[in-house]
């Protein structure tokens, strides 16, 4: 039932097949494939250690897979220089910004690095990209603050602005909503879907929150122990049987009657009833209104 590939190879901006990564004799990824067209976005799910970060590192050329092929706009990734890749692909890694004294504006300006020659300064179009990136992430008011004085959530949004200043065609994000409060989580994911829809940016994001993933990503990829367990729309991937197998935790999946989106609730172990549930259409949502999802 597991399907190794998502989407179609035709017209893909980012395409990979049969990816395999071995680090220190341990197999981290095997047989992973995906294809993303312009404006498509993909949420990558999976428990800790499933290989989400490793997959993103392969797609961004930081890690060279031991087997398999990756193509960026039809060109083999390993034949492109770091600079050529960075002009098209922006990455928001999970690692926090280290303690240092640049201001937020200077950090975001670093996003222009791949577009500038060694000694050139910022030009009008670079400044425009920086202003826009700050505006999109709602961090313009932080421009003159040193990074080390920002909260973790503010740092996360400034880091995203840095990635957006690269004006990428592909955005790879490792837990973009970590450290963010609920409003900023929604804002950030909304921003990603808008970038995909209006700018045709291809987005791949590792996401921990299954509800946010269901709400904001039309396609999901479930990784477990380095293999693709399921891929496709949320309805196909967020099945309780798959999720409990991957995460080792019992969950209830229901459809919200008013909103139509899937809701995943973790359950206590050993609680009676392991069936799927859905809200009964047309009724006020309440626990009594839950009924099994067939």
């Amino acid at each position: 039932m597991a399907r190794p590939e998502v989407g179609t190879p035709e017209a893909a901006i980012l395409y990979c097949r049969d990816l395999e990564v071995e680090l220190g004799g341990r197999r981290i990824l095997s047989g992973v494939g995906l294809a993303l067209g312009p404006g498509e976005s993909l949420g990558v799910l999976g428990p800790n250690g499933a290989g989400k970060t490793t997959l993103l590192r392969c797609l961004s050329r930081w890690l060279r897979p031991s087997r398999g092929e990756i193509f960026l706009e039809g060109e083999p990734l390993e034949r492109l220089s770091a600079r050529e890749v960075a002009r098209k692909v922006a990455v928001l890694p999970q690692s926090p910004i280290p303690e240092f004294e640049f201001t937020a504006a200077e950090l975001v300006a670093m996003g222009r690095h791949p577009h500038l020659s060694r000694l050139a300064g910022l030009e009008a179009k670079d400044l425009e990209a920086i202003e826009e990136a700050l505006a999109l992430t709602g961090t313009t008011h932080l421009a003159e603050r040193p990074i080390s004085t920002l909260s973790a959530g503010e740092q996360q949004r400034v880091a995203l602005a840095r990635a957006l200043a690269q004006e990428p065609r592909v955005l790879l994000l490792d837990e973009p909503t970590a450290h963010l409060d609920v409003a900023h989580q929604v804002e950030t994911l909304e921003l990603l879907s808008r970038l995909a829809r209006e700018r045709k940016v291809a987005v791949v994001a590792a996401v921990h929150d299954l509800n946010l993933a269901a709400e904001f990503f039309p396609r999901l990829l479930l990784l477990n122990a380095g293999r693709v367990m399921a891929a496709g729309p949320p309805e196909e991937v967020l099945r309780p049987s798959l999720l409990s197998k991957a995460f080792g935790a019992e969950v209830v999946v229901a459809r919200h009657p008013g909103l139509g989106s899937l809701v995943v609730l973790p359950r206590r172990r050993g609680h009676a009833g392991g069936e799927d549930w859905r809200f009964r259409a047309g009724r006020e949502e309440s626990l009594e209104a839950l009924e099994p999802l067939s």
Binding site: R61, W62, S81, A82, R83, V85, A86, R87, V89, A90, V91, P93, S95, P98, F100, E101, F102, T103, A105, E106, V108, A109, M110, G111, H113, P114, L116, R118, L119, L122, L127, I130, E131, L134, A135, L136, T137, G138, T139, T140, H141, A143, E144, P146, Q166, A183, H184, E187, E190, R194, E198, N211, E215, F216, H256, L259, S261, V263, E284, E285
Partner: protein
């Protein structure tokens, strides 16, 4: 109940009219109040940095004039400037200035500039504010080379520049190459490996230096000890001409990698995502820093503290951008060492103190004073008000 379960609806993220500016609440807030805020901030930072660089250049010029004028025969600044303007050779003052003092002052400036820039490079490479130019074995290698030259044959002049600086330079370069080879793993250069290998090689070579000085217990011992404490009494135009090209080359190379260094402060992975060829950048910075250190040590001996303190002071006053930090550290290092050398040869005249003593004696308390002051007032490059 229905309110509390509210999840952002599909409608909320359906196409929004008005494009980028007018979307979600937090987004529009940024756009409206923004304007050209980031551009203004970046411009203000650059302007401040340029002003500091200009100020440092003026301070350096003033230090050179003062140092050239100071000595057994005092020469007024006005006359120094006039003699420098006239060119070499005219009159007694001209001879003193051009043949005796100027090469020495310029040598101190070259060594100081090299140490300052090297310190900034190594602090960035190791992402450690305690890194100094001597961390990876250059000083120990230079010491060994110099001591071998002093003990074996101090008057042999292989390249017309004296055995001591030539052997010190070779020793510094050789030890850095050794450390580099030890620190390489696979195709990459491990920063931690570099530090560990540097410490190990340094202590081994220092032990050899101690052994050699112990075994040669005669009047040459004094010479060795004095050399190790640093000084510019051996400065000549020829030595200056022989070492200047290496320093210039390394300075220019490091400026080419200034923005890469900024990105590397985010960590190697993020720097790679920004298009930096991380391994190339690390090797270039290591090579440039090692060359600068080798030049400084071979012409001036072990002058401590300049490479550690000057980059810090430059960073405190103008921020961490290496396009500013590298030239600022070079200018500041040059001025600091010119003044320290002036003190070293005037304070006990006609005797001379090792310049390394001066830099540590004056540099350490000054640095502590600035650190404490800064903690009270906050970093000065922060914009005041809005």
């Amino acid at each position: 109940m229905s309110r509390s379960l509210r999840v952002p609806s599909r409608a909320a993220c359906s196409p929004l009219d008005g494009g980028w500016g007018s979307a979600g609440p937090g987004v529009s807030r940024g756009t409206r109040s923004g304007g050209r805020r980031a551009a203004g901030a970046l411009l203000r930072i650059r302007r401040r940095q340029k002003a500091i660089l200009l100020g440092l250049a003026v301070i350096l010029a003033g230090s050179v004039v003062a140092a050239v004028g100071a000595g057994a025969v005092g020469i007024a600044p006005r006359e120094v400037v006039a003699a420098l303007w006239r060119g070499p050779g005219a009159g007694l003052n001209g001879t003193i200035i051009w043949d005796l003092r100027l090469p020495r002052v310029l040598m101190a400036a070259l060594a100081g500039a090299s140490l300052g820039a090297a310190g900034a490079l190594f602090q960035a490479l190791f992402r450690n504010p305690l890194a100094d130019p001597y961390l990876i074995g250059a000083s120990a290698g230079a010491s060994l080379g110099a001591v071998v030259a002093l003990v074996v044959s101090p008057h042999f002049e292989p390249l017309g520049i004296g055995a001591v600086p030539a052997m010190a330079f070779l020793g510094a370069v050789a030890s850095v190459i050794l450390v580099y080879r030890l620190a390489r793993e696979g195709g990459g250069l491990s920063i931690l490996g570099l530090i560990l290998a540097g410490v190990a090689v340094s202590s081994f070579l220092s032990a050899l230096v101690s052994l050699l000085t112990y075994l040669t217990a005669d009047e040459r011992l004094h010479q060795v000890v004095f050399w190790l404490m640093g000084g510019f009494s051996g400065a000549t135009w020829r030595l200056l001409a022989a070492s200047l090209p290496y320093s210039l080359l390394a300075c220019l190379a490091s400026l080419l990698f200034a923005r890469d260094l900024n990105a590397l402060l985010l960590g190697e992975e993020t720097a790679g995502y920004l298009g930096v060829e991380v391994e190339l950048a690390k090797k270039a910075v290591l090579g440039a820093g090692a060359l600068l250190t080798a030049v400084a040590v071979s012409v001036g001996g072990m002058v401590g503290f300049v490479g550690l303190v000057v980059p810090h002071l430059a960073r405190m006053s103008g921020g961490p951008d290496h396009r500013y930090l590298l030239p600022a550290s070079a200018l500041g290092g040059a001025a600091a060492l010119v003044l320290a050398d002036m003190v070293s040869r005037t304070v006990l005249a006609p005797g001379e103190l090792p310049v390394g003593l001066i830099t540590a004696l004056l540099g350490a308390p000054f640095f502590l004073f600035v650190l404490r002051r800064r903690r009270r007032m906050g970093p000065p490059w922060l914009p005041k008000g809005g």
